[in-house]
């Protein structure tokens, strides 16, 4: 949590979106998705053995969360489905970023944390 907050403080001064090279956070999120989420959602997020509906892109229901903070909160409470405490909040920020990049909301170079999530709208 402490690391996360200092990251948030740094973000407040940086330009958060629109960076081009994949951020380290994106890469962490990608690896974590494959390891923790793909079994149920498919590596392409289009559905798998746990949940048949797409979780990003066409047909996904991400817009209902309205912003990245609400999506993070959902992940924090509900995912991974078998045990939401299995992975850390820090990794869940990485995963939330990864999902939103794949959805087209954020660029691969973006960073996401408590400081900016509420101001990242999801459409």
């Amino acid at each position: 949590m402490i690391r996360l907050l200092s990251l948030g403080a740094a973000l407040a001064m940086a330009v958060p979106v629109l960076a081009s090279a994949p951020s380290a956070q994106f890469q962490r999120g990608q690896a974590a998705f494959v390891e923790n989420c793909a079994a149920c959602h498919g590596e392409n997020g289009r559905g798998g053995s746990g949940y048949a509906n797409p979780i990003w892109g066409q047909g996904a229901q991400l817009a209902k969360y309205r912003n990245a903070a609400a999506l993070f909160e959902y992940h924090q409470l509900m995912m991974p489905f078998d045990d939401p405490t299995r992975i850390t909040d820090e990794l869940k920020w990485d995963l939330t970023l990864y999902v939103l990049v794949r959805h087209g909301t954020l660029a691969e170079g973006a960073e996401l944390g408590a400081a900016n999530a509420a101001s990242v709208p999801i459409r």
């Binding site: 949590m1 402490i2 907050l5 948030g8 079994a39 149920c40 559905g47 798998g48 053995s49 746990g50 949940y51 048949a52 509906n53 047909g59 229901q61 209902k64 969360y65 903070a69 609400a70 993070f72 909160e73 959902y74 924090q76 409470l77 509900m78 995912m79 489905f81 078998d82 045990d83 939401p84 405490t85 850390t88 909040d89 408590a114 400081a115 999530a117 509420a118």
Partner: protein, 448 residues
């Protein structure tokens, strides 16, 4: 504790008692027992966490004590059916299927009794209506004994008995069902108050509170016209006020249909001359597969959180005849094994050799249970003894039969025949979300 502080505490307790009706001790027990995983939050200095992380809520997603239900996923608890022995299911043993963390008055003030309101409107009514909890309490109420069951109950059989690995969803086994006494104001009374027009074709029951505001379900008005005395706005379960996990303060109860139809935390009913398409009759709770034809939405349909492209299969409505022994199913092929399941992957339940009385439950809420049969190791079907009471179509029955168990591995199958003669089949066709698998279950048992 100072007297002033004591008074404040007493006031707070009184306010909570008014809101929730239940004993505070009981509520506290649930709070303590429910969700222990607060370590990440607790590790941060409290002041910092409050100032910097307003988005992080306390991690309590269900209110219910986990000790008498089986945790199969975030907000999902299945009944420990291998331990069932009562006809009426205690609330503590009742399955929970919520799509989001349970909304409570503390986080959703509109669910406090003093502020809860229900709006009934739409172009299918003569008069719009808004009622409060107190209004509801003054209306004529009745009770009904009915099972409640998740559409996904039995999904496990797709994996274990039919090798259909592409079926997706939670591993309910056969415990996503229970029987409760529901006390409710019948929809027939509400319909009289608003004056339902003959043009009304569909009704949408909507929470508006649950999760991200996408939970609710429609049904044809024909259901309300045929059994408006049976379908109603429930406020008690087994004689006590509803628990938050079960929809407090008020939920819909639609006896005999899958639980998704019985919208929890209800705040809106819309009656209209057009159909409705929402999340829970498109992206879930529907039959999608090669043997199921997708409905064709009408041009004037109303959509909430779904589009015409999402309509891919017919919604599940009546739950078919089913049965279970009070024996845990062997899990060999299922994608997951619940953490506290009594059997490891591939492990068989053990039974002592000799004369045993096998017990089980059977239900078929559209027409009631007429007969239950069993067979052992593929032998002849034999009738099981149905225990009384058998109180009509919406209730289940308990059944039993004697078995001279010999050492070795055995398979026992159970089969319900309902009042219309419909019988559990050997297999059911594939559907993507694993809805309503009512195939004859095969219970593997090792006798030693």
């Amino acid at each position: 504790m100072s007297e002033e502080r004591r008074n404040q505490t007493a006031d707070a307790l009184a306010a909570e008692a008014i809101r929730n009706g239940a004993s505070l001790d009981r509520r506290r027990m649930f709070q303590v027992a429910a969700w222990g995983a607060t370590t990440a939050m607790a590790a941060a200095p409290a002041g910092v966490a409050l100032a910097q992380a307003p988005a992080a809520p306390a991690r309590r997603i269900l209110q219910k004590d986990d000790s008498r239900v089986l945790n199969i996923g975030a907000t999902v608890r299945t009944g420990r059916f291998w331990e069932f022995n009562t006809w009426q299911t205690p609330v503590e043993q009742f399955y929970v299927r919520n799509h989001y963390p349970t909304p409570i008055p503390e986080t959703h003030p509109v669910l406090a009794r003093e502020s809860w309101k229900l709006k009934v409107h739409g172009n299918g009514v003569e008069r719009e209506l808004e009622i409060t909890y107190n209004d509801l309490m003054r209306m004529p109420a009745r009770s009904i004994f009915s099972i409640m069951q998740c559409h996904g109950n039995g999904r496990t059989l797709f994996w274990e008995q039919q090798q259909m690995r592409d079926v997706s969803g939670g591993n309910w086994l056969l415990g996503a069902v229970g029987l409760a006494e529901w006390r409710y104001v019948p929809m027939s009374h509400i319909m009289g108050l608003v004056g339902v027009k003959s043009s009304a074709q569909h009704v949408l029951f909507w929470s508006g509170v649950d999760g991200q505001g996408d939970i609710g379900r429609p049904m044809p008005m024909s259901q309300l016209r045929e059994r408006g005395d049976d379908i109603g706005l429930a406020f008690q379960m087994n004689g006590s006020d509803l628990l938050p996990d079960h929809g407090a303060p008020v939920r819909l109860v639609v006896p005999g249909w899958g639980g998704a139809a019985s919208t929890k935390w209800i705040t809106e009913i819309k009656i209209a001359d057009h159909e409705f398409w929402v999340r829970l009759n498109t992206k879930g709770e529907v039959y999608i597969g090669p043997t199921y034809a997708a409905p064709r939405p009408a041009a004037n349909a109303e959509y909430r959180g779904a589009t015409a492209e999402d309509v891919k299969g017919p919604p599940v409505e009546w739950m078919p005849p089913m049965s279970t022994l009070t024996v845990p199913l062997v899990l060999q092929h299922a994608p997951s094994i619940p953490a506290n399941y009594p059997l490891q992957r591939g492990q068989l339940p053990m039974l002592t050799a000799g004369r045993q009385t096998m017990t089980g439950y059977a239900w078929g809420p559209q027409h009631g249970v007429r007969q239950v049969d069993y067979r052992i190791d593929g032998g002849a079907w034999m009738p099981a003894r149905i225990q009384m009471p058998n109180l009509g179509r919406y209730t289940w029955v308990r059944f039993d039969f004697p078995w001279d168990a010999q050492a070795g591995d055995h398979v026992i199958e159970t089969r319900t025949t309902d009042g219309a003669g419909a019988m559990q089949p050997a297999e059911v066709p594939f559907n993507l979300f694993g809805m309503a698998n009512h195939a004859i279950p095969k219970f593997r048992i090792r006798v030693a």
